[in-house]
């Protein structure tokens, strides 16, 4: 087959078509945004120097804070239901006190509205090995995947609707099973896993939720801070050391007020249960100083008063 010659660029302004000449003028004028500055490059280098995995917060706190991605959009909305349904795990079951984060309606809708840049799906699978770079299938293949993506989105949306609007987590789980069977390598697999966690929490299946959370790459999903906190709360009795690490990590992120309250309360309880009474008192006092009329103030007031 004879190769067609390389066409002239639109920017050359030589095209016979007046519209393409106009577009060519735009391409000539379009600014080159240039590279990132030295500081920004150094910030990214620092992030890269941190180990992947549990570091979650070395990874873009911003990406976590804002990174609700599809997961966030879907999951946060679902979280509203899960929270308001009272099915959240008990922060630390040391005492019966406020175990469930009360409904936080402002987290539901606004979080969806504020949905940030997406966390990126496992792109590396799509990246060709260097040797084959020149012989790969088309890079993004968006046209081939567009229809399937729409189908997958619809499947996940059905599950989320069952969970969020119909408040039927059992049906949501069935729909998530269908999604998993239909799209085992789907783009929204991580999002579906988060929805499954929420559904299990809504059903009070905390052990199942924890098992799913243990396998979830938190650094790659939205709601990473919140999900880490939920994992800490679920771990508090069975593995207080791991729970404390999660609480520490949540508190190190400058989490939202709602999450910080829960994390401080959870860590105080966890520390108390492991015999770290000084640490527990310090958390209780920190909580009371910041949230004197907070939802855990009474319980932590008693803890702070203990000598």
């Amino acid at each position: 087959m004879s190769h067609r010659p390389e066409p002239p660029r639109l920017a050359s302004g030589t095209d016979d078509d007046p519209v393409l000449r106009r577009i060519g003028a735009l391409t000539r004028a379009a600014s080159d945004h240039g590279p990132l500055g030295r500081d920004a490059l150094e910030r990214v280098r620092t992030r890269l120097s941190q180990k992947p995995g549990p570091i979650v917060f070395g990874m873009p706190l911003r990406a976590l804070a804002v990174g609700v991605a599809t997961v966030g959009l879907a999951g946060v909305a679902v979280a509203g239901f899960a929270l308001s349904s009272g099915s959240r795990p008990k922060p630390v079951p040391v005492q019966p006190a406020p175990t469930v984060a009360p409904p936080v309606p402002e987290r539901v809708v606004p979080a969806v509205k504020a949905a940030p840049p997406a966390s990126v799906a496992p792109v590396e699978e799509a990246v060709p090995a260097p040797r084959a770079v020149a012989h790969q299938a088309p890079a993004a293949a968006p046209s081939a995947s567009a229809g399937r993506l729409a189908q997958e989105s619809a499947a996940l949306e059905a599950a989320l609707t069952a969970l969020r609007r119909d408040r039927d987590p059992a049906r949501a789980l069935a729909l998530l099973d269908h999604h998993a069977a239909s799209f085992p390598d789907g783009v929204l697999v991580l999002e579906a896993r988060v929805a499954r966690i929420d559904a299990n929490l809504a059903l009070g299946r905390n052990a199942e939720a924890l098992a799913l959370l243990e396998r979830l790459p938190l650094e790659r999903v939205g709601r990473g801070v919140e999900l880490r906190l939920v994992r800490a709360e679920l771990r508090a009795t069975s593995d207080p050391k791991a729970a404390l690490a999660d609480f520490d990590a949540v508190l190190a992120t400058g989490a939202s007020k709602n999450l910080e309250e829960r994390a401080l309360h959870g860590r105080a309880r966890c520390r108390a249960s492991t015999g770290d009474r000084a640490g527990a008192r310090a958390d209780a006092e920190r909580y009371l100083a910041k949230y004197p009329s907070g939802r855990f103030a009474q319980a932590l007031g008693q803890l702070a008063a203990e000598r």
């Binding site: 519209v19 060519g24 929204l188």
Partner: protein, 195 residues
């Protein structure tokens, strides 16, 4: 206009020295090429967070680096990763839009200018152009950016996208037709232009 220049970069591996065991370290690659990659990122998607994208590109590079055998220039390899990371991220945004009916990447001002010529500045020209590109399929968009904005040759585009060179110009032609259609839908035919 042209900035990627993969051919010259192919022979330019300065700073990308190997470790004693013969393997490239990520930090070495990063120091040598991060600035260039960040430029590509901002060209491919000026609306996204370039730091996050740069981080993502090098996370992928870190995972893939052990398999890099030097058959292609490392810049070509990095550029292929960059194109895919950006495309993946954009797909995710589209999924969110599908699911939730809004698109966070939309610019605040959605009112099209009366004519593109009213926006003669470089920044405004960029905005007009990227808004037109936004409505295209990802492959069309990528091809047009690589060829028209970055000035890559057909061989280079093939190297980073995997699209066979024999199909490239046909696909580019179709992408131009769709871009033209998007322009006309938005701005109408320019004066003197045939309908």
């Amino acid at each position: 206009m042209r900035g990627i220049n993969l051919e010259s970069a192919a022979g330019h591996e300065s700073g990308a020295e190997a470790r004693p065991d013969g393997e490239l370290s990520l930090d070495t690659v990063y120091r040598a090429h991060a600035e260039l990659v960040s430029r590509w990122i901002r060209r491919l998607d000026p609306t996204d967070d370039p730091e996050d994208l740069l981080h993502e590109v090098f996370l992928v590079a870190r995972r893939r680096l052990p398999t890099f055998r030097g058959d292609a220039a490392i810049t070509t390899w990095l550029f292929a990763i960059t194109v895919r990371v950006v495309a993946s991220r954009r797909r995710k945004r589209k999924v969110r839009r599908l699911l939730f009916g809004r698109y966070e990447g939309d610019s605040a001002d959605q009112t099209p200018p009366a004519t593109p010529e009213m926006h003669a500045s470089r920044t405004q020209a960029s905005r007009v152009l990227y808004e037109l590109l936004e409505g295209l399929a990802e492959r069309d968009r990528t091809l047009l950016i690589l060829f028209e904005l970055e000035g890559l040759s057909g061989k280079e585009i093939t190297a980073v996208t995997g699209i066979p060179e024999r199909q490239l110009w046909t696909l580019l032609h179709r992408a131009r037709v769709r871009l033209k259609r998007a322009y006309v839908e938005r701005y109408g035919m320019p004066e003197g232009g045939a309908p």
